[in-house]
Structure formats: C-alpha cells, structure tokens
C-alpha cells in the first residue's frame, strides 16, 4: 500500500438521521460504474464521520415505527433501503429472498424414511450442554393423527392462535404442525402481551388456543377489568394449557369467562409434546396431569424398573409411537432414558390413582423447569464459574410456600489471597456484575433472578454439591452461615 495514497474525509458534525442512511449509500452509488456519469475524475476511498443533532431511529424496512407517536416525541425516523438483489448486503451472508427468487415454486418433496428425524429440538438435561432430541416424521404424524385427534376435534375451519414460540416442541407440534395437518389457519404472533393476545383472538375470531398457564391467568385478569373497552372474545372452542400446572380455579373461571373448554396437556420434548391430558370430556382432577391419550401407554416404575401399584410414587415411564428416537449423536444419553422395551423414562416422579389419573410430585434429576422451559443448573453454573471473580456456583430453584419460583445462584467468590481469601481492596462480585455476565451468555429464561454469595458450598463427602441443603437453606439463613464456615 502506498503511503502517499489519499482518502477523502467527510466530516458532518451537525447532521440528521437521514444523513446517517444517505451518505454511505450515496458514495457507494456514485462509485459504481455507469450510474451517473457527470464527474470524470475517480472518487477516492472515503471515510465519513457524522453525528446527528436530533434523536432518531434508522430503521430497516420491516421495523414497525409508530409515525405520529415518534413525531410527537421529536424522534426522527429514517428508513434503510430494502435489501434486495442489487443493494449492499452484509458480507458472508445470503438473503433468503435472493435464494428463493431464483427457485421454482414447485419442488416435489423428497422421499424420506419416516423414522429419520424431521427436527432436532435441543433440550437441557442434567449435564451442562443441551441434547438434540431427534423428533421423527412418524412422531409428528402420530401426534397429529392419533394423540391430538383423541383430545380435540380439528377442522379446516379452525383458526389457531400461534403465540407459543415455534422453536419449542409445544408450539411446533401443537400449534404449527397440527394446524397444517388439519388444513386449519394459524395466526402467527411474533410478540406476546396479554392485551395483544386478547385483541388477536377477537380480531381473527380464533377457535383454538394452545398456551401456557401464565397466559390464561393474565387473560383472565384482563377480562375481569370491567372498565376496559376490550371485548371478551367468545370465539374460542378449545384451549390447551401446558408447560406448567394451571390452577383448577383459573381453568374453570377462564372457561366460563371465554365460553370455551380448556384442557391441560402434559408432555415433553422427547414425547413430541402431548401424551396425556386432564379435562378430556370435562372430567378434571385437581392437580393431575390426567390420563394417557389414545396411542399412549404410561406406567409408574420403581428404582428397579418394575411397575408400581397405584398410589405409589415412582418414575413415570411412557411408551408410544410419539416417543422420540433418541438424542442426536449421543447414544449414552439415549440409553439412559429409552429402555430395550421402548419405554421412555421421563425423569418426572409421580403416581397413578385408582381411576388411572397421573400426578407429578417431583423431578428425579436436577433439572429446573420454569414456565415450560428446562433449565440445566449445570449449564448456568458453568457460565458463572467462568466469571473472573467466581470460584464456583450452584444454581437451584427456590420455591416459596406460595409457589413462586426464584432461580437462585449461590456463588463462591474467587479471591487472589492465600486459601481464597480477599487481598487488600478485593471485593466479591456484585449482584449487578453477575447479572450482566449472565445477560451476555445466557438466554433470559435461564438467568438466575437472585444471587447469594457464600464462602463455600455445602458438599457431600464425595464433593457433590448438596442442592437440597441449598434449597432448604433459603428459609433458614443459619444453615447457610454454618455451611459457609
């Protein structure tokens, strides 16, 4: 590179929002041969440095900005040009629209082995890393043709609310795939608020809604605010709740307020979502996950794998065509949950009553389930342990007597003094530092809501962290102090 080469510097210290969009694009356009040939001299490479005199948003074509509101708040808006085939595009990427514009609208589906995975859904287990559950074509087909069919009457006239995230097995199987299977219409919602959900149900006269308990609770709450102008939609025929237990009172009140029927489903990623439902035909048992759907066998087994009689607590095992094929590239983890006879060992502890209704009592393994998402304490602990001021951490879900859950991290600081003692001026990590670190590395649902600094974690003789003690300790601070010394 020649040291005497000259670049042009354009300095625009008092620009506006539209300038931010326009300068770079204009220089690029001016440089591209054959556009406007008024100048004959070659324009040099250019650096533009600008600052705006107004508050503003430079927005891509699909960003929705409320024009009047922005104007009233004195916020300027400048649109980026729609990226197409001819515009500038980020290096190393290809636009989906560019790929599809060149492709045929008739692509005959390839022949597939129905027992090959259609999707891999990553789910957290007891180990630090998530595992890719292989959900096959046959699993998804069976979920639609047999399981859902035995619970709900789907027809092409249905309009289904697509508010659950489609990357999660519940939304994928019980909103998207089932809706398409029956030729129904799926109303996609990329963002959730109780108000927008209420409005979407009403606007589209939705007839089906798979959702999670908090959504039902909040919708019910909204419907009770009499002063609100919003109409309570009466179009819903069937609702399904899943992901966490829904209090029976909420369930009944919701069904009444919205003139609908509601069922509680139970399922896991490994069972391609639903295998069991409470409320089929209006028959509920409080606190139960219900009875197995058609095409599903369930039993409760003891430590030795033998089936237990009704009323005894053990692990819930499930056998069905809807049970997944195994974990991707992980035969060891697969062997731990799928036995030779095809039973899937769910890791959920519970019992069956004399009427054949199942009840969940606890988790066998150290998995935290929060709002339908599995959280691996190990994964969160490994992230925390990478913080420069953390020596080790243990993460547990603290449940208050009222049932409120708080994922809590117990953190042992790392100090530079001998025997991990603080050197002069050395402080343990602050709540805020830990929080920001988790924000950088973990999805929001995995982040602890509370942090407790300890000088040591309670451990067994073999060095295993005693999570139970940490859980119990939440109410009894003296125990923390004792284990810390």
């Amino acid at each position: 590179m020649a040291g005497n080469e000259t670049w042009r510097l354009i300095y625009n210290p008092d620009g506006d929002t539209a300038d931010i969009v326009s300068y770079g694009a204009s220089i690029a356009e001016g440089r591209i041969a054959g556009k406007y040939q008024l100048s004959t001299t070659l324009v040099p490479d250019t650096l533009v440095i600008q600052k705006s005199r107004e508050l503003g948003i430079v927005a891509g074509a699909d960003v929705v900005v409320e024009k009047e509101l922005a104007a009233s708040q004195k916020i300027a808006v400048a649109r980026l040009p729609r990226q197409g085939r001819n515009g500038a595009r980020p290096v190393g990427t290809v636009q989906l629209a560019e790929l599809t514009s060149k492709a045929s609208s008739k692509f005959k589906a390839a022949e597939v082995d129905p027992d090959e995975p259609a999707v891999l859904i990553y789910t957290s287990g007891t180990t630090g890393n998530p595992k890719g559950a292989m959900v096959t074509h046959r699993n998804l087909n069976f979920q639609c043709t047999t399981i859902v069919k035995s619970l709900i009457d789907f027809s092409p006239d249905d309009r289904v609310i697509g508010v659950l995230p489609l990357y999660h097995i519940y939304g994928l199987a019980n909103a998207l795939i089932v809706s398409l299977h029956y030729g129904a219409c799926l109303v996609l919602m990329p963002q959730y608020s109780p108000q927008s959900l209420l409005e979407t149900i009403e606007k589209h006269q939705a007839t089906m809604m798979p959702a999670i308990p908090s959504m039902y609770q909040l919708l019910l709450g909204l419907s009770r605010i009499k002063s609100r102008q919003t109409k309570i939609p009466k179009s819903l025929k069937h609702c399904i709740s899943g992901g966490a237990p829904l209090p029976l009172a909420v369930l009944k009140d919701f069904a009444e307020a919205f003139s609908t029927t509601i069922m509680e489903g139970y399922g896991l990623t490994e069972s391609t979502s639903s295998v069991c439902a409470n409320g089929v035909g209006g028959r509920f048992k409080d606190g139960s996950i219900g009875r197995p759907a058609e095409g599903v066998e369930m039993k409760v087994v003891g430590e030795d794998g033998a089936e237990l009689p009704d009323g005894q607590e053990g692990e819930i095992a499930i056998r069905s065509t809807t049970i997944f094929r195994g974990y991707w590239n992980n035969p060891a983890a697969t062997a731990q949950v799928l036995d030779a006879d095809g039973w899937f060992h769910s890791g959920d502890l519970g019992y069956r009553d004399a009427d054949g209704y199942y009840f969940i009592t606890d988790r066998k393994k150290d998995i935290i389930i929060s709002h339908g998402y599995n959280i691996s304490p190990r994964e969160v602990e490994e992230v925390l342990a990478e913080h420069p001021k953390v020596s080790e951490a243990a993460v547990v879900n603290l449940v208050s007597p009222k049932g409120e859950e708080t994922v809590t991290a117990f953190v042992v600081p790392k100090f530079s003094g001998p025997d991990n003692t603080p050197a002069a001026g050395e402080e343990p990590p602050s709540h805020r530092e830990l929080q920001e670190y988790c924000e950088l590395h973990l999805a929001p649902y995995k982040r602890p809501r509370s942090y407790v600094v300890l000088s040591a974690l309670p451990k067994s003789a073999t060095g295993k962290v005693l999570r139970k003690e940490l859980r119990g300790d939440a109410e009894d601070k003296r125990l923390i102090d004792r284990s810390a010394r």
Binding site: R8, P13, D45, I57
Partner: protein, 308 residues
C-alpha cells in the same frame, strides 16, 4: 370401503414435506397462515416452502443435512421449516433468545450446514462461525435492523472503499476493528478489545459495532459507537420489534465516558480515528465533500429515507 368416499379421508403421507403437499392439494385456496394483515393460502405456503427447498439446494444443502432455524413466529419460520422438510433435510429450530455460546454449541453439535436467521443476528452468528466448521452458509431474512441516533452520544462512521484493498472480508474487519481498538485506547479506554467480526468490547460490554457490507466492487463499513451513555427507552416506545431483537439490542452496552471517565467530543474522536486509520491503512486523509454524482444519489436517498 364406502362408495364415493372423499379424497380428504385418505390418510396423509408420513413425511412432513409430503404432508404439506397433500394438504395444499386439498385446500389450495384456504387460508394457512395469517400474519399481521397478510394471508397466505395453502397453495402459497406450499410454493414458498418449495422456493426455500430449491434455494437451499442451490447453496448445497442436501437430504439429511441439518439446517438451523433461528427465527421468531413469522411466516419465514414456516416457509423455512417446510422447505427443509421438502428437501428431506433436518430442521434445527432453536430459541431466538440464545446467546453466542448457546448457539455455538447447538450449531457444532448438530453439524448444521446452514442457518436461517434474522438479518439482525448475522453479526452474532458470524462472530462464532469460526467455532462451527460445518456451518457454511448464513441465510438472512427480514429487514428488522435498526440503529439509534442520539445527539448526545452516538457517532456514526462510514467507510466506502475498494474490495481489492483487502484479500478477504475478515482482513477488512481485522483492519477496521484494530484501528478502532487503538482509537479507544488513545481516548483512555484501556481494555478495548476486538476478536473478529461484530463488536468492539470493553469490560465485556459492547462499545462499538461494525457491519461490513459489499456491493459490486466496494465494501461499505458502518461503525456505530457511543461517546456517552444513551437512554434507549424513549426510542423503544415508538417502535415495535420482536422481543428477541430488543434483547439483542439491549445487550449490555458501554460508552467511552463510562470506560474512560472522560468526556470525549466528536472532534477529538475524529482526530483519533483518522490518526489510527492513517497508520493502519497507510494513507493520508484530506477533507472533502460529496461530488455532483454523489449529491444526486444523496438527494434521492434522503427522499427514500423519509418515507415511512
């Protein structure tokens, strides 16, 4: 067998891709998807899925390959999922809120050959792409990028230069990122740091972003940095973006003032950046203005930017 039994009673095929085709055959004109004020019929959905299948095939995705999907509930999620199914490939949809290390693990473990994501996430994926050797293509969709402009704190720097100046995009990223790091250090941000592609960070937080685009023979680099902290809350109140994008935009940010404790003005920043770029690129900078050609383009682009 009942006489005259309708076609609709025939069992559907087991494969997801073939299922969509069979359903689309039965319900051509019926609504499949509603999104905002748009309706897609089953025929349109099948055609869109076909185009995704063909498009992915054109970049080398084959039956059995894994294709990651990192999209919110938008029609492109459905098109991509079923396009992948038509190809006989395996879809790997995952949580759009995931961060770099979470995404990196899933891409490595699944061996995904391509990912379909929002254009906003391209820099995030590219930051980890070197850890994911199987990942060949980053397919972006949606035009949901945005940049906030704050008179108090944000500075925008744009560079337009010949692609031939650098052997490849990563060399260009490296040069610009390196010059920015030195600029920040000269301004008192001692631990400014840049790995490759994406953001310049200080104390783990985002201090500047670099987006490198290409058009014909040119690279266009867009740099945004913050001299002082900005309050994004009022801006989010007037716009609608899906939560995962907001989350990404709100990733912990910092500013020159927060990191160095100093009030650095625009002129001081400009002088520091020009000095570092001069050294890195071995060029001189001369103040200039837009040419006549560029002014025509500038007026047109301003007009286009003004439509909402």
């Amino acid at each position: 067998m009942m006489f005259g039994k309708s076609k609709a009673a025939e069992p559907l095929p087991l494969g997801l891709g073939a299922t969509l085709e069979a359903i689309a055959e039965r319900h051509r004109k019926r609504e499949a998807i509603r999104f905002e004020n748009r309706i897609y019929t089953y025929q349109e959905l099948d055609e869109e899925a076909s185009r995704v299948a063909g498009g992915l095939a054109s970049i080398g995705v084959k039956k059995g390959d894994r294709v990651a999907i990192m999209l919110p509930n938008i029609p492109e999620f459905v098109f991509s999922l079923y396009g992948v199914q038509k190809l006989g490939a395996v879809a790997v949809p995952f949580n759009t809120m995931y961060k770099g290390r979470e995404i990196s693990f899933i891409l490595r473990d699944s061996g995904a050959k391509a990912i379909v994501c929002l254009s906003n996430f391209a820099p995030l994926i590219q930051e980890i792409q070197s850890e994911c050797p199987a990942l060949e293509r980053v397919v972006v969709t949606g035009q949901r990028s945005f940049v906030f402009v704050d008179p108090a704190g944000t500075v925008n720097a744009q560079m337009v230069f010949e692609r031939s100046r650098f052997p490849d995009p990563s060399a260009a990223f490296h040069a610009i990122g390196g010059a920015l790091v030195e600029t920040f250090k000269a301004l008192g941000v001692d631990d400014a740091w840049y790995s490759h592609i994406g953001a310049v960070r200080a104390s783990g937080k985002k201090l500047a972003t670099i987006i490198l685009s290409e058009i014909e023979n040119l690279y266009v680099a867009n740099v945004v940095t913050w001299l002082s902290p900005m309050d994004t809350a009022p801006l989010f109140k007037v716009m609608y973006v899906p939560p995962e994008i907001k989350e990404r935009a709100l990733e912990p940010m910092t500013s020159v003032k927060q990191e160095s404790g100093k009030d650095v003005g625009l002129r001081e920043f400009k002088d520091a950046l020009v000095a570092q770029l001069s050294a890195t690129l071995q060029v001189r900078f001369e103040p200039g203005k837009l040419t006549r050609d560029e002014l025509i383009a500038y007026e047109k682009n301003r007009a286009l930017a003004g439509r909402i």
